[in-house]
């Protein structure tokens, strides 16, 4: 958090990604570094031209020596020219490297930012289908593969500028020999093509298994308590063995082919050298070619060999990079299902906080496996999570929602927070459709305490204010007091500075819930949404919190979901959900009167109390 003022608002727009066209995407992302790449390429040309001087000098020397027409002065001259050219080549090389590889690091930085930023935009349903482990594998392993291609890979590619120059030189030295040395070329092309096809397929498989592998580890770590509690360590290891074995096999399969790349290119070059010596030797012996030409030709060809070897290597890098780029593009190309769009009115404000649901129905999107089967029978669809729900919460009042497990209470709140969009019906706040409000405004007005508490491994202070530096400690403590967390806080070794573990491992269940409550309260939201927030809190603490909350909720619209009648009996209105539909509504007394589901829930708790007395 310390860094947040250090940087101006960072870049937030990137070129579109094209899954299936990795090269295009790479190109687009690298456009802003085009200058660096072009300069680098120009330097590469300089470097190549300079290094081509070398065989020329050697030719002159050899020619001079074998004919005896070379003096000491000339020899020294050659020596100095040779040194000067290599220094020039080195300088060109230095700048080429810093420019090009430097640019690739900048590109990596951009891509990482783009990836993270895009993840932030994606909606809840995306995260439901994508395991975190997979997303992380993309951010780590795939990102590395791409970087390796763009850095060293592009360097290698640019180095191939040498190729035409070298070829030109060879043709200049001897057309016939050049043609001979190019004889292995067609074979090379076919092999490269086959090679690339295989690599492409296999590296994709490898990357996918790797992602599954990391998902598995990640899940095992997250569920460590369950693993231990049930003593299933061995089974976990077995399952992991399966995946690792699969990974190893896929890698070995890849190796069987990739190991071929290096010797193959080696051999092809060897064949080329052979042809040249054979034919060139003959030509020299028959006096059609000078020895100097032959030596220059040979040296040039060896210079050609290096970029060719590199070509094999670059090809491997490129293949892996392309597969990985596609995997990242796939994410970058996910369209956020919910975002600000043309319906949004940028300056729409939530003032009083009147909430209306009008015939809202919603079902969760079908699981991805069945979605893949195109013609989806409707039976595969999930049942309605919420069906034809209509109600109104007048500004400043409290609505309570009760209902059996899985009846759709949390779903209603998610819909209100626009984590999902209703399939039909409308949700309005202050008489305006939810879509009208920019997401930022909407969420600013809503103070939501989700049923699953999530705690970051930061200090308690950071967890409550969640990155709004303007909130002073006084307000944080005040919110903690209302949430009944102050007492616990004061017992902690470093109070607000106490550091929490991942997901708040070092807090008790009730402490986590109250921390999450404080987090929502401190924002001073117009609308407060509590989803079963006090379920892990004892009745005494609950009583204290409710008393404090009552004052806090004065004049604020709130929706409270709870299984405890004690938490909600004072609400202005209570709705009872069952299987996604409203079955009863009214205030506490009316509902008790009605003698339905609510009365039954209530009765059960009452009955028990009486029983306690009787027994």
């Amino acid at each position: 958090m310390k860094n947040e003022t250090r940087h101006a608002p960072p870049e937030t727009s990137w070129p579109p990604a094209e899954p299936g066209k990795p090269f295009l995407t790479l190109l687009r992302f690298n456009r802003r570094y085009l200058r660096a790449y072009l300069t680098g390429a120009a330097l590469a040309v300089v470097f190549v031209v300079i290094s081509l001087l070398m065989p020329l000098i050697i030719r002159a020397t050899v020619q001079g020596l074998s004919t005896g027409a070379l003096g000491t002065d000339r020899l020294w001259e050659f020596f100095w020219v040779l040194l000067a050219t290599s220094i020039a080549a080195g300088v060109a090389r230095y700048f080429q490297r810093t420019l090009m590889i430097g640019a690739s690091r900048h590109f990596e930085y951009d891509l990482r930012n783009a990836y993270f930023r895009h993840l932030q935009r994606l909606s809840a349903s995306f995260f439901q289908r994508m395991p975190t482990g997979d997303l992380m594998a993309r951010a780590t392993s795939d990102m590395n593969q791409i970087r390796d291609f763009v850095g060293p890979g592009v360097m290698g590619t640019v180095d191939m500028i040498r190729l035409p120059f070298t070829l030109g030189m060879m043709f200049y030295l001897s057309v016939r020999l050049t043609l001979y040395s190019l004889l292995p070329l067609p074979a090379l092309t076919i092999l490269v093509y086959l090679f690339v096809r295989f690599m492409n397929r296999q590296s994709k498989i490898v990357q996918e298994i790797y992602a599954e592998l990391s998902t598995r580890v990640q899940e095992n770590l997250a569920g460590a308590r369950v693993v231990k509690a049930f003593g299933i360590e061995d089974r976990e290891t077995d399952r992991f063995r399966e995946k690792t074995l699969e990974y190893m096999k896929a890698n070995v399969k890849l190796a069987v082919v990739t190991s071929f790349a290096w010797p193959l290119i080696d051999m092809l070059i060897g064949v080329a050298v052979l042809m040249v010596i054979w034919q060139g030797g003959k030509l020299v012996i028959e006096n059609h070619l000078t020895l100097g030409d032959l030596s220059a030709f040979l040296i040039t060809m060896v210079m050609l060999a290096w970029p060719l070897i590199q070509f094999g290597w670059v090809l491997t890098l490129y293949q892996r990079g392309a597969v990985s780029m596609n995997r990242i593009s796939a994410i970058l190309n996910e369209v956020p299902e919910i975002s600000d769009d043309q319906r949004t009115v940028m300056n729409a404000r939530i003032t009083v906080g009147r909430i209306q649901f009008e015939g809202v129905s919603f079902r969760y999107p079908s699981p991805p496996e069945s979605a893949a089967q195109a013609a989806l029978p409707t039976t595969h669809q999930r049942p309605w999570a919420v069906e034809e729900v209509s109600f109104e919460v007048p500004a400043g009042t409290t609505l309570a929602i009760v209902g059996p497990t899985g009846s759709g209470k949390s779903t209603l709140l998610s819909l209100l927070c626009r984590e999902f969009e209703p399939v039909s019906g409308h949700i309005l706040i202050d008489g305006q459709a939810l879509e009208v409000f920019p997401l930022h405004t909407l969420r600013h007005a809503l103070g939501c305490v989700p049923q699953d508490v999530f705690i970051f491994s930061e200090s308690i202070r950071e967890n409550i204010r969640l990155g709004r530096p303007a909130i002073p400690d006084g307000e944080i403590l005040d919110a903690a007091r209302v949430a009944g967390f102050l007492g616990d806080l004061q017992e902690m070794p470093q109070q607000l500075d106490t550091l929490l573990g991942e997901r708040g491992v070092n807090l008790s269940g009730g402490q986590k819930q109250r921390l999450a409550l404080a987090r929502a309260l401190v924002c001073n939201p117009a609308i407060l949404l509590l989803d079963d927030t006090l379920s892990s809190v004892d009745t005494r603490t609950e009583e204290l919190i409710l008393r404090e909350l009552r004052g806090y909720m004065e004049g604020r619209t709130s929706i409270i979901v709870s299984h405890r009648i004690s938490s909600i009996r004072h609400a202005h209105k209570i709705i009872v959900l069952a299987d996604g539909q409203i079955v009863e509504s009214g205030n506490h007394d009316e509902l008790v009167e009605l003698d339905g589901l609510y009365a039954r829930l209530h009765q059960r708790q009452l009955l028990e109390t009486h029983l306690e007395e009787d027994s």
């Binding site: 020899l75 995260f127 809190v537």
Partner: protein, 624 residues
């Protein structure tokens, strides 16, 4: 984010570490036959690699050059050419054989090495994962999952690189150097000295490079590790990030970390950019010196074929110098790879060496089936983290004494944070107590064989965790003894069958990460069913019905009452309605037992329980 709660994750800036290397090599020991083969192949390959230039030299000197020089008189041309052409062909055939052999051997060598690398990686990874399974929660709590994850994934991958690209390639490089030296000196020692004269400069540059590159190399690794574990957490908590509009702040922080990482990289790039051209230049210097020297010698003797210098020798030396400086350049690059892999393996080994502090004693007591008598005697406990941070541990449980008879139903109530869940964790021996004794069936929990003991205790944890997989898999957890019928029966007992059967796929419904596509109560029900299905001797419910409506809860209670006949059960609950029928209720307060007794006794006692009770009671009758 600060790493404060978590254990430090610092890397020593250590250079090559022989001990680590030995340990790494230990992993390849089972494949030493293959490695020896690869090494021999490498040796053969470097000899072959140098054979080609030598043959080349020979063909030029003996056949090509000779022929041109002798081709003075017209009539001799034909004869000479014929003779010499056959010599040339022989050489060509020899080179062809060398090239073919080289390709074949190279393939075998590369393949062997990668397969060995893959196998080693497989074993290492599996071993590490297995070790991770046995580490205590005290350790796991204090290491971010992202960090441990990258040990098992990234770091191991890097270690494999050491083996493939590092060790073997270095051996190969050294061999090439050696062979080149031998060949050079055997052709012409003086010329060899001339060609090698820039070597001291190369060494100097390499030392300088290492000095600057090493630090920044490790820095890069450290920074990326932080970025990744930070990102992992923020991806998991994306929902909160979004609900609280934290995206921009978060993003800004990400960008800042990312920029830091990039800048370090760019520094690194500059180091490399200086180093490589420098070595390349020194290589060219060697070539130039060779040409100069040979030229001088030839000029002096006026001979182009004498032993001191010849056109062929120039060829050979230009090639050989290239062969010599290539590996040197590569060595520096590999040194970094090895450095990186060393850092990785250091971390992997550190994890591998972390002793599982909660583990079996020397002679663990086996326990197929416990009776379920639990006895705590003056138990004191503080969480490991807190104990380490300051002098006096922050006791979470203080002097707890509690006896539970087999078959007894005990309820634990108390305000939040009182230490109820902690007690449960101790019972399953997630952590070890600092003082006092905790016995089950009269045996200290530390003396039991850990895993079978835990299997006897069925816990429904307060934080429900479901694996991604089907509902059935989640209930069965791979236990083959649990039949389909049992899975369904348990689901019925906890009243989960109704909702499960309505899900697409029923018991085969695919649950997302952490059960994200079920409602919270439904997750709890599945977790409950899972515990029942494992047929525990001691059932421990930590707020197992906190997110479940009262009606369902009552149904569950009725259904499992029979099931639990004769088994010890410990139930933690805040709703008094859940606990009132227990044989005994224990009231916790600030880590101590305040009261204990039956519902009636406690009511009569007029203490904390009575207050809790009255709150609920008053509230329910108050406005009626």
């Amino acid at each position: 984010m600060s790493e404060g709660y978590h254990m430090q994750d610092e890397l020593q800036e250590r250079a090559y570490d022989a001990h680590l290397m030995r340990r790494l090599l230990g992993y390849i020991r089972p494949y030493r036959g293959w490695i020896i083969l690869a090494t021999v192949l490498l040796l053969v390959l470097s000899v072959l690699g140098n054979l080609a230039p030598v043959l080349l030299m020979h063909s030029v000197d003996a056949y090509i050059n000779d022929a041109t020089r002798l081709a003075a008189p017209e009539d001799m041309v034909a004869a000479a050419a014929e003779r010499d052409l056959s010599g040339l062909y022989r050489m060509v055939l020899a080179i062809a054989a060398v090239v073919a052999l080289q390709g074949l051997l190279r393939y075998v060598q590369v393949l062997v090495v990668s397969v060995v690398g893959q196998r080693t990686m497989f074993e290492m990874r599996l071993g590490l994962f297995d070790h991770l399974q046995h580490l205590s929660l005290g350790f796991l709590d204090r290491n971010p999952a992202g960090r441990l994850l990258s040990r098992v994934t990234n770091d191991i991958e890097k270690v494999q690189q050491t083996i493939v690209e590092g060790v073997v390639a270095v051996i190969s490089d050294f061999m090439t150097l050696l062979v080149v030296l031998v060949v050079m000196f055997s052709i012409n020692p003086i010329l060899a000295c001339v060609a090698l004269s820039p070597v001291p400069l190369v060494v100097l540059t390499s030392v300088l490079f290492r000095k600057y590159a090493q630090h920044s190399f490790l820095e890069v690794r450290r920074k990326i590790a932080h970025i990744n574990s930070w990102m992992q957490e923020n991806v998991s908590g994306m929902r909160v990030v979004r609900l609280f509009n934290r995206e921009d702040v978060n993003y800004a922080e990400y960008v800042a970390r990312n920029a830091d990482h990039r800048d370090e990289w760019v520094r690194q790039v500059r180091n490399f950019a200086l180093y490589f051209p420098a070595v390349e230049f020194l290589g060219s210097l060697a070539t130039a010196l060779v040409i100069l020297y040979c030229g001088m010698v030839m000029l002096k003797t006026g001979e182009a074929t004498s032993g001191q210098g010849s056109v062929g020798t120039i060829f050979a030396f230009v090639f050989l110098a290239e062969r010599f400086f290539g590996p040197i350049r590569a060595l520096a690059d590999r040194y970094n790879l090895i450095l990186e892999a060393m850092a990785s393996s250091e971390r992997v080994f550190a994890l591998q060496d972390t002793p599982p502090d909660v583990c079996n004693g020397p002679a663990p007591v086996s326990c197929a089936r416990l009776k379920g008598a639990v006895a705590l005697e003056h138990v004191w406990f503080a969480y490991p983290s807190a104990a380490e941070l300051q002098g006096e541990p922050r006791w979470v449980l203080k002097n707890i004494t509690l006896d539970i008879a087999p078959g007894e139903r005990v309820a634990i109530v108390g305000h939040t944070g009182a230490g109820k869940s902690t007690l449960i964790h101790l019972l399953s021996r997630f952590y070890d107590i600092q003082r006092g004794h905790l016995r089950i069936d009269g045996v200290d929990v530390r003396d039991y064989d850990l895993i079978p003991m835990r299997r006897n205790i069925g816990v429904v944890l307060q934080d429900v965790f479901l694996f991604s997989g089907t509902i059935e898999e989640n209930i069965r957890l791979g236990n083959p003894e649990i039949s389909q019928e049992k899975v369904e029966a348990c689901a019925r007992h906890v009243n989960a069958a109704r909702f499960i059967e309505r899900l697409p796929g029923g018991y085969g419904y695919h649950v997302g990460e952490r059960g994200c596509n079920l409602s919270t109560g439904q997750r709890q029900l599945v977790a409950f069913a899972r515990t029942l299905a494992h047929d525990p001797r001691i059932l421990v419910l930590d707020e197992a019905t906190a997110n479940i409506d009262t009606e369902t809860e009552n149904l569950i209670q009725d259904a499992i009452a029979k099931l639990l006949e004769g088994r010890t059960s410990i139930v933690i609950a805040h709703r008094l309605s859940t606990v009132q029928h227990a044989d005994r209720i224990v009231v916790f307060h600030h880590g101590e037992i305040r009261e204990s007794g039956t519902h009636q006794e406690l009511l009569a006692h007029n203490g904390l329980y009575r207050t809790l009770y009255e709150l609920q009671y008053k509230d329910q009758t108050g406005s009626d």
